[in-house]
Symmetry: C2
């Protein structure tokens, strides 16, 4: 059997700090149109796709911070993207900064169906970086300051003819995140990322950023027998280089398609959701082979090894 889903990665090049939402939305719509013209029914945009990656700056003025956040979705400024989705019959995954009505801030992603309706939401759980000002860094990574950890768990949504889960950026480095989604039945995991090439605490690993990016996603795909689609905000943004390498990864862990620029770029791939069975009904048949009774430490709160 086959269950085909034509999709596309929509990698974004840099977004300037002063680039207004309408201009960004126009870029997103152009990518959506290109993807739809090639037959895509689902387009994956990156993390925080409506603004520059603002956690690189220390800010104290709440108004300045909140200007990077969305208080409603769609809003007047983002509605044209939803309308384009409905017009084109092409859904999308979009990351953005969410300011909830109760004042909480999240690093969020949504799944929007072919009618332009939101059918799923995820809030990033593994926030990287730090909460304090560290002036020694050439740029900050203040996700622990500007966001709270996601409170929606790892939900899986029935959509696009399959079961879809979402992760966001640093989540993709954590095997627990993929496994949670796979245990909940995910056949396709979509995610976006903003990953600086330079990691100030351990700069001697900068040359490994692309390798680590693909290693984690390929292992996540294979070890959970699911498709993984990872999409970058890439290129030199406000003086900070972000890695590219957006890709579609099969349940075998093989990279099926990938971007080859560091700018706005659509990569199309038709995937077969039924290929999940090749792995998950055999080598990673969870019911047959997992041993959850031996995994106690994994969920032990506050347990940390001595170093």
């Amino acid at each position: 059997m086959t269950r085909l889903l034509p999709l596309a990665t929509a990698q974004l090049g840099p977004i300037a700090r002063d680039e207004a939402r309408p201009a960004v939305v126009r870029r997103l719509i152009a990518l959506l149109e290109e993807a739809a013209s090639r037959g895509a029914g689902l387009v994956i945009f990156p993390e925080l796709a409506l603004t520059t990656f603002f956690p690189r700056w220390w800010m104290e003025d709440p108004a300045e911070i909140d200007a990077f956040f969305e208080t409603e979705m769609p809003s007047a400024e983002t509605r044209p993207l939803f309308e384009a989705a409905a017009r084109l019959g092409c859904g999308f995954h979009l990351g953005y900064a969410e300011l909830a009505p109760d004042g909480r801030h999240f690093n969020t992603a949504i799944l929007v169906d072919r009618d332009g309706r939101i059918v799923g939401k995820y809030r990033k759980i593994h926030l990287p970086g730090h909460a304090d000002h560290q002036p020694w860094r050439p740029f900050q990574h203040l996700e622990k300051r500007y966001f709270q950890p996601g409170d929606l768990g790892f939900p899986v949504f029935e959509a696009f003819g399959g079961r879809i889960g979402m992760l966001i950026c640093n989540d993709r480095r954590w095997p627990e995140a993929y496994r949670m989604l796979a245990l909940a039945g995910a056949e396709l995991i979509v995610l976006g990322y903003n990953t600086p090439r330079h990691y100030p605490p351990v700069p001697e690993h900068d040359h490994l950023q692309d390798f680590h990016n693909h290693l984690c996603m390929q292992a996540g795909a294979y070890q959970n027998g699911c498709w993984v689609v990872g999409v970058a905000k890439a290129g030199v943004e406000e003086g900070c280089e972000l890695i590219a390498g957006s890709c579609v990864i099969a349940p075998t862990g093989e990279i099926r398609a990938r971007a080859t620029t560091a700018g706005d770029e659509v990569v199309f791939a038709e995937i077969d959701l039924d290929r999940v069975r090749e792995i998950r009904a055999h080598i990673f048949d969870f019911a047959q082979h997992r041993r959850p009774e031996t995994y106690g430490l994994l969920t032990e709160a506050g347990f940390h090894p001595t170093m």
Copy 2:
């Protein structure tokens, strides 16, 4: 700081079904001597390193089955290996089939220090394959018939100047296994494997066996910031091809050294256990970034996704 540990992989080529223990032990000693002559203080041998990979055959006679198992360690036949270790000042990791005094059967590995004393034992938890006779297969994979799941958890041992954990073969495909050891403080994970090139249920993946082998171990190393050493029984054994690719993997996920034959082969590498901090004190700082309160499903017994 550096904490150097000179070690070696001791890949084994095929062991014939009728090859007697003393002949195998002589091969192991030759590899130990070669490794020690190059400065190794620890040699890693494969899984089930004393016999052919007998789970490929359906057997019903308990005496025939038990002939592949060790009832004591060391025994008269294996003692020369322990004596060689003490003489050379070179410890080892060895996999073998264990028949416990109470009649239980395990797929086991031990860690033996430079004095030739056993300082750690692990019993394989993730048993692959099947328990029933499946004559349609060109060869069986009866680990679920011949072994019980390990009952020792995922222990970590203070030895060789560091903290060492062990896995066995199929364990290395499961991210939970690496994580359990890393949470218990492991800095180095050693393991052996017998992996047929041909996987009868999904033969269309046979060409990916080497890729999957390294993908899992490299991800396990990087995502846990520890060294991983994986050692194969390799080559065409009783008509069944086993993959090779024994290797030493750094906490960055990079392959530091690897075997380039499918036979008996020593590969030497000096590793620095203090490099664990490069990863585990930063990008994978568990205390800072893990969210165990969101991982409930991971330890839920009997939970299996719908397919």
